[in-house]
């Protein structure tokens, strides 16, 4: 029997810090009437300490808590991404929440607990911990999606997200039960070691299929994407930004853990199914995005398409694929978070000013914001030398190496479609006369945070090897 080891607490110290921060925030709410300002400080401090601890504990792979949790480069990489995304989105959401009168302390606590769930998903090497991480994250996001509780659109988006999410949780759990039944363990390392023995078992494959379905829902890959446009449109924009970036990255971390690091399905029927999921997501996401007139909905469909590009790396099933996805996610988190934060600045009260036309002529009123938005749009479209280009480059290269050339070609073709709707926004901002204006003058902190995101997008594009080396497991 394994005994409890004090070192385990050191390996999981970023998680422990965040849990304590979240609990302090909940208590704060009860004792102070105007606790929001303090809550922002406490949560920012908690996240910064957790980032520090993540960097300090970064190192060799070290199983902890009775082989359920893996402290190592993979988990630390993703923890860093989630924490950075969480911190940026908290800075960017503060003014938005104040403007819409939903600035409450619970918001911070929920975001912090969602990050804890995400970090558990990225560090889990046991299906039980993986499941708990998924649920912790999802439960917080259901509440966040309905955070504007007096508004019907927000309620509706929360209900749709909740009902479909819980429905799919049932499948994910049934899949885990079947994997447990056929292998006799929930530990992914043990399952991975004896993978050959199970790979032909029909019940095992049924379990794999159900887990695949559950995780595909969380990354919003077609045909399990139907919730995404509605939920992204109805939820408060700051929540959408967080949900579409960090939560997608967390679900991909779980996807990589299960399908690349545990199972070896490269070149089998399972990887063909993954390739088809990727192809369908790319096509549906990009084609549906063209028809949208609401910017949040356009970005929702674009996130379906990006899930497709990243799934290409999983279908490839090689190490390049894994590194490609990790780079892509790091880039995607910053570019999409930046784009959503500018959408939240333009948005008015009661879901107004969200259509494309509300951006006409933005460059005359807000030249800096228009320029930053253009950077994010160019990067999402995958135009070099921005980070989005290298993300696509790495995953498509991995697909070519795995003899999935058709998928890479389809990826490039659908990216060409995507240029149309991303650049449409840029054209409106610069070459169309209009009265576009931001709803309230953004503060210096907001501008700095958005510029930081844009700077990272540029930096990752100019020096992609920085992140690629960390993703490989070394500096």
């Amino acid at each position: 029997m394994n005994k409890f080891n004090v070192l385990d607490l050191w390996y999981s110290s970023p998680l422990v810090t965040l849990v304590v921060t979240g609990l302090v925030l909940l208590v704060l709410e009860g004792f102070r009437r105007k606790s929001q300002r303090m809550a922002f400080g406490v949560s920012a401090a908690g996240i910064i300490i957790a980032i520090g601890l993540t960097i300090v504990t970064y190192g060799e792979n070290q199983p902890a808590f009775n082989n359920t949790f893996l402290q190592g480069t993979f988990g630390s990489f993703f923890s860093f991404v989630f924490l950075a995304a969480g911190l940026l989105s908290l800075i960017l959401s503060r003014e938005y929440l104040e403007r819409l009168n939903i600035h409450r302390t619970e918001y911070y606590a929920l975001v912090i607990f969602a990050i804890v769930g995400m970090m558990l998903m990225a560090s889990a090497i046991d299906l039980v911990v993986l499941f708990l991480g998924v649920e912790l994250m999802s439960l917080c996001l259901y509440v966040l999606a309905g955070f504007m509780r007096t508004r019907v659109t927000s309620n509706e988006s929360a209900l749709k997200y909740f009902l479909l999410g819980a429905f799919v949780t049932g499948f994910l759990l049934y899949g885990i039960a079947l994997l447990y039944g056929t292998t006799g363990t929930t530990n992914l390392v043990t399952i991975g070691k004896n993978f050959e023995a199970y790979s032909g078992n029909a019940v095992f494959l049924l379990g794999v299929g159900m887990v695949m379905m559950g995780l595909s829902f969380k990354i919003a890959a077609a045909p399990f994407h139907l919730w995404a446009p509605d939920v992204y449109e109805g939820a408060p924009t700051s929540v959408t930004g967080f949900m579409s970036t960090a939560a997608k990255a967390a679900a991909f971390a779980a996807f990589i853990t299960v399908f690349l690091r545990t199972f070896e399905f490269a070149g089998t029927k399972v990887s063909e199914i993954l390739a088809i999921l990727a192809a369908v997501s790319m096509m549906i996401g990009n084609i549906a995005a063209i028809a949208q007139n609401n910017v949040k909905r356009m970005l929702a469909y674009s996130s379906v398409a990006h899930a497709g590009y990243m799934l290409t790396g999983i279908a490839a099933g090689n190490e390049e694929g894994q590194i490609g996805i990790m780079f892509y996610l790091a880039a995607y988190v910053f570019m999409n978070l930046g784009a959503f934060s500018i959408v939240s600045l333009v948005e008015g009260q009661n879901d107004t000013r969200l259509s494309f036309d509300d951006y006409s002529g933005l460059s005359k009123q807000q030249p800096l914001l228009a320029a930053l938005m253009s950077v994010f749009m160019f990067s999402l479209a995958g135009i070099p030398p921005l980070a989005g280009f290298f993300g696509k480059y790495y995953v498509f290269l991995a697909a070519v190496k795995a003899d999935l050339t058709w998928l890479a070609i389809l990826g490039v073709l659908t990216s060409l479609i995507s240029v149309y709707y991303y650049l449409r926004l840029v054209v409106l901002m610069y070459f169309r006369d209009g009265e576009a204006q931001v709803a309230a003058k953004p503060s210096l902190g907001t501008i700095v945070a958005i510029s930081l995101a844009a700077f990272l997008v540029l930096q990752l594009g100019l020096y992609p090897s920085l992140v690629v080396n960390i993703a490989r497991g070394g500096f």
Partner: protein, 100 residues
């Protein structure tokens, strides 16, 4: 002695009943009850596997699933109440401001 297959069949049938309930019922609370039925059928699978494998992990997972289901019920009912206050309906066909 009841065979493992019988337990698995029973839980599979219950799971399918839950899925059909989610897909065909229109009342949000009934849909939610069907989801709980799905989770409980999974619990039955886990307990059956656990007993036949002689391994306690499955039973431990059941406790986690029950906890998660309780948390989900709290969040879900809160969301349903918030929606009912604004819309006075629980029919998911009428909840359609956002296009599906």
């Amino acid at each position: 002695m009841i065979e493992l297959e019988s337990y698995l069949l029973l839980s599979a049938i219950t799971f399918v009943i839950g899925v059909i309930g989610v897909l065909t019922r229109r009342n949000a609370i009934i849909v939610f009850m069907s989801i709980e039925l799905m989770l409980n059928s999974v619990n039955l699978t886990l307990v059956a596997f656990s007993a036949f494998l002689g391994d306690p992990t499955g039973q431990m997972l059941v406790f986690f699933v029950m906890t998660v289901a309780a948390a989900e019920a709290a969040v879900g009912l809160a969301i349903i109440i918030a929606l009912f206050r604004n819309k006075q309906t629980l029919n998911i066909d009428e909840i359609n401001i956002l296009k599906w």
